[in-house]
């Protein structure tokens, strides 16, 4: 069966670094429907590889309000997007504006509509990355966001809900990057505004790790699944968080500092995938392709192909 006809899509974010990235992509090219590329501009060979393997490409772009706050700024930004699509070979744009204040909601609405119209006119696609916003965390979305969910549902071909950074380790003392109920709540929120076919559930391919010594500061985002992967870690204890549906570990590092590690692994990913199935969502993504672990790949393959 052609990948594009599969019921659920796999479209991870992909860090392009150099010619070696082609090899990385090929490792799992047979199950990937698309990638949203960040990092350096890929080589023509990379785009050729994607075309050959029927992998859609998006350019991941971010920025500040100054990218669209005036008609002139918006025009210049949009021209840049069109150029990337027509000259570099991207199949579309993946917007990832994350820290804009609600003051710019109207300007962003205009920018979204214009970007969608002009990309669609040349046969390209518009995707967007949005936060996982259950009411439990933020209350009514209009109080804190700079976009209108209805406008996103209207303009964008793909809506990628970032079901991670529930607790952003570099700014907090403890907590997982995602949890089953939180992510499910977030996807339900977006289903009110966006058709399910367009909704992509963005999953973490990293865990949160904290040094529990007072004064140790905030935590780290890490791409190991289990503390045994850390050199000289020891005294490892594990505990299944039944509501969050993830593994937590307590262990000592090489300096005998106690760490708490909230894992993202095959098991937590498998539980998130039940949300995709239960809500009949369009597909999944991972932040990011380069840190997806073998056990995650295993459950993803099973999810997509049944084996």
């Amino acid at each position: 069966m052609a990948k594009t006809k599969r019921k659920r899509l796999l479209t991870p974010w992909f860090p392009y670094q150099n010619a070696g990235s082609i090899k990385l992509l090929r490792d799992h090219a047979d199950v990937i429907n698309g990638i949203s590329i960040f990092g350096k501009t890929p080589s023509p060979e990379f785009f050729a590889c994607c075309r050959e393997r029927d992998i859609d490409t998006l350019l991941l772009v971010g920025g500040k309000a100054s990218s669209f706050d005036t008609p002139e700024h918006a025009r210049a930004t949009l021209d840049g997007y069109l150029k990337a699509c027509t000259e570099d070979g991207y199949g579309g744009i993946d917007l990832d504006f994350e820290h804009v204040t609600p003051d710019y909601t109207d300007a962003y609405t205009v920018f979204l509509r214009d970007t969608a119209k002009e990309l669609h006119a040349i046969g390209k696609r518009l995707s967007i990355c949005v936060g996982c916003y259950p009411l439990a965390q933020h209350g009514r979305p209009s109080r804190v966001h700079f976009f209108e969910p209805e406008v996103i549902g209207e303009c964008c071909d793909e809506v990628r809900v970032m079901c991670y950074d529930l607790y952003y380790a570099p700014h907090c003392l403890l907590g997982p990057t995602s949890s089953f109920p939180w992510a499910r709540d977030g996807m339900r929120f977006w289903l009110q505004y966006v058709s399910k076919e367009k909704l992509i559930m963005g999953l973490p391919a990293y865990g949160n790790d904290y040094d529990m010594s007072p004064g140790a500061g905030f935590g780290w985002q890490v791409n190991f699944e289990h503390p045994s992967e850390i050199v000289m870690s020891h005294a490892i204890e594990s505990f299944w968080l039944h509501y969050e549906r993830l593994n937590v570990y307590r262990y000592l590092n090489h300096e005998r500092h106690t760490h708490i590690h909230y894992a993202s692994d095959g098991k937590s990913t498998q539980h998130h995938l039940t949300t995709v199935e239960d809500l009949d969502l369009g597909g999944i993504s991972f932040w990011h392709y380069g840190t997806i672990t073998p056990s995650m790949w295993q459950v993803v393959y099973y999810f997509l192909r049944g084996k």
Partner: protein, 318 residues
């Protein structure tokens, strides 16, 4: 008539005559108490409750084995409860069987139905404590539980989902006793089966505290709101857990050992009361009265209650 729009009906630990003094400290706030303890309350406690218009229930529990497995056992248990109500002065029974084998689901439902009927016949009430079960946690209830929600709805006058022990500290290595999203799901679950007017929301009056040292085994349930309440605690760091909606502390104890506290306090209670408000739950409870901190009482006193909810029937109507 109820003193407030949202009834306050905590569990109450009876120990001795000093318990009467403890009760009087907040007697004006209370609508009822569910009494537990090794000793039979003194007549003075019941008199005090009558004086302040406080309902009384007797909290009873166990595994159910030997209590209602057979008709003869059920008869004996019901007779004992009826005696408690008619001879001792309790206004009813509060069932807290928590670890009943699922094979006893039907005997338990039958027992509950019979007990409810016989208590009502003598003008007494039947309450039940139920687990904070949620679809997110356990899947469909019939796969694990000994509860028959429809039987509970039919037999009981009050249903108290215990929105705590989300992580039971004595058997875990980290985690709070309750969390906002989970507690909301618990109430949503039970509201599918139980008429709103019978629903209580049972909240914790304790936090979870853990050593973070490996091999520290498990944690403790504690009734302090902040590490500063612990003698010698120092190097305290704080974070607000925005999903769980509670305060989290990392600190060193008097021996310099690292610990974490998931606090139950004014702020966490205020957040949980928003669920009471959102679902128009008519009554709340706490496990338990004696560990309710000044912060919890402050959150309660500032809670406006639920506008538009009809007042409950007077006690005489039960």
């Amino acid at each position: 008539m109820s003193k407030r729009k949202v009834r306050l009906f905590p569990w109450f630990a009876y120990q001795n005559r000093d318990s009467v003094k403890q009760l009087k400290e907040h007697a004006d706030e209370l609508d009822g108490i569910s009494i537990f303890g090794k000793r039979m309350p003194a007549a003075e406690l019941f008199a005090c409750c009558r004086e302040y218009g406080i309902d009384t229930l007797k909290l009873v529990g166990g595994t159910g084995e030997g209590a209602f497995e057979t008709p003869a056992q059920a008869r004996a248990t019901i007779d004992g409860f009826l005696r408690d109500c008619t001879e001792t002065g309790y206004g009813g029974i509060d069932l807290d069987y928590e670890h009943v084998p699922p094979r006893l689901l039907k005997p338990y439902a039958t027992f509950m139905r019979d007990l409810g009927r016989e208590l009502h016949a003598v003008g007494k009430r039947l309450s039940i404590c139920v687990h904070g079960m949620a679809v997110g946690e356990h899947g469909r209830p019939e796969t694990f539980a000994f509860y028959d929600p429809e039987a509970i709805a039919a037999a009981c006058d009050e249903v108290r989902p215990m929105c705590y022990d989300y992580y039971f500290a004595p058997r875990g290595i980290t985690g709070p006793t309750t969390a906002w999203l989970w507690a909301r799901e618990v109430m949503q679950f039970w509201l599918q089966y139980i008429p709103l007017e019978k629903m209580y929301m049972a909240l914790p009056a304790y936090g979870n505290d853990f050593s973070t040292l490996p091999n520290a085994k498990t944690g403790k349930q504690v009734n302090f709101e902040h590490p500063t309440w612990v003698e010698g605690a120092h190097d305290i760091e704080h974070a607000w857990l925005h999903q769980e909606r509670l305060n989290f502390y990392r600190y060193l104890d008097a021996d310099g050992k690292p610990r974490v506290l998931y606090a139950t306090d004014e702020e966490s209670t205020r957040e949980l009361l928003k669920i009471v408000d959102a679902f128009r739950i008519p009554a709340i409870s706490f496990w338990y009265y004696q560990t309710m901190t000044p912060g919890i009482w402050k959150a309660l006193k500032e809670f406006p209650g639920i506008a538009g909810v009809p007042r409950l029937p007077s006690r005489k109507a039960y």
